[in-house]
């Protein structure tokens, strides 16, 4: 059975992910970062990940930019990437559906590394997401499959290692990669 993941664990994992990204950035030849924070979170607030967003409000090491739409978040992420900054997008499945053209145009055709954490709001604890009663849960993985976006489920605290793994995959393949947050974070 899936379990909820504590916000603190996700944030610590994001920090580790960004530390690794900063090391890779330095190895690439970039100089000192323009600011002291580890990386950027672009968020279109997701009810499913609200405890993470609340904890991020108090977090000094990560800079959060709240975006009006997922289209914006994707294009902002492209600009941050071009400028040498590490970035993670936190959105909801409905936002994924809303922004597929930008996903296609920027992350795929544009060959921009783009790592998404996508909340599966209303995912039932006792059902596989692909068999959900809710279309917005049921279609998320098939949509990512259609676009060829590598993805994995975060089904509990033991799965947070998938965050840096899929972040790396997005960099290696120069395109989108995603983890799906199975249950509401706590």
């Amino acid at each position: 059975m899936p379990e909820s993941i504590p916000a603190s664990l996700i944030i610590d994992t994001l920090k580790d992910t960004f530390r690794e990204a900063r090391s890779a950035r330095a190895a690439e030849g970039w100089g000192r970062p323009a600011s002291e924070h580890l990386g950027w979170i672009l968020s279109v607030p997701d009810t499913h990940q609200k405890t993470v967003l609340a904890a991020l409000d108090k977090e000094q090491a990560l800079r959060v930019v709240t975006c009006a739409t997922e289209d914006e978040a994707t294009a902002i992420a492209a600009g941050l990437y071009a400028g040498g900054e590490p970035v993670v997008l936190m959105i909801q499945h409905a936002g994924l559906y809303a922004s597929v053209n930008t996903l296609r145009g920027v992350a795929m055709d544009g060959r921009i590394p783009m790592f998404y954490m996508i909340g599966l709001l209303q995912r039932e604890r006792d059902r596989d997401p692909r068999e959900s009663r809710h279309s917005m849960v049921r279609f998320a993985e098939p949509l990512l499959d259609t676009f060829g976006v590598p993805h994995a489920r975060l089904e509990g605290p033991d799965d947070v290692h998938l965050i840096p793994e899929y972040y790396r995959i997005s960099r290696q393949r120069r395109g989108p990669a995603a983890v799906l947050v199975g249950l509401e974070t706590i």
Binding site: E28, W30, E72, A75, L80, Y81, A82, G84, T102, G110
Partner: protein
């Protein structure tokens, strides 16, 4: 009371210094002729995204000016960007809006509201540090140097005629992924 967009772009090309420029739609063909350099990246294939792309660049490289050449039809596609930019408060972002009242590329259909849409009021209401409209080339020439110094985000509506070319009549240019690579490499080697 309307400027030729190519004339505006010539003023920018002459005075931008090391600013990163983000053209979109009908400014793209003329810009790649006027400024065939590695410090520009066009918004192609995701209409409405130029200002967000520019915001990301401005946040990543605060030591540099970033100038976005937006279009009125494009901005309407992602109007929420005005609030997102204001919220992020990039001090180095200049958001230029080339306002011609139509979707030029697809055959000059009028945008919703046409030329009556008041983008300056929208930008000011969203929280841009300053917002103004310019319709005369001499005024733009006079003000442009200061736009590169003033604290952003700055919004400037430029009332223009139609461009000579559109991305449909003048295809080509460097593919978007290569533009990103070239810009990234340029910024990497110039990074402090």
């Amino acid at each position: 009371m309307a400027m030729k967009p190519e004339d505006v772009l010539r003023v920018i090309a002459a005075g931008r210094g090391d600013a990163i420029c983000v053209p979109t739609m009908t400014t793209s063909p003329a810009w790649r002729e006027l400024a065939p350099d590695d410090l520009s990246v066009g918004c192609v294939g995701f209409m409405g995204g130029a200002s967000s792309l520019g915001l990301g660049l401005a946040l990543a490289r605060p030591e540099r000016r970033v100038i976005v050449f937006d279009g009125d039809g494009s901005l309407l596609m992602q109007l929420g960007t005005l609030a997102t930019i204001s919220g992020a408060r990039p001090r180095n972002l200049v958001h230029l809006l080339f306002k011609n009242g139509v979707y030029h590329t697809s055959g000059s259909q009028e945008i919703p509201g046409g030329l009556t849409v008041d983008f300056v009021t929208m930008a000011r209401g969203a929280g841009y540090r300053s917002a103004l409209s310019i319709g005369e080339l001499d005024e733009f020439k006079r003000r442009f140097p200061q736009l590169l110094k003033d604290e952003g985000p700055i919004f400037v509506e430029l009332v223009t005629t139609l461009a000579d070319q559109t991305p449909m009549t003048a295809r080509g240019g460097v593919p978007f992924p290569d533009q990103i690579d070239r810009l990234r490499q340029k910024l990497l080697t110039a990074a402090p």
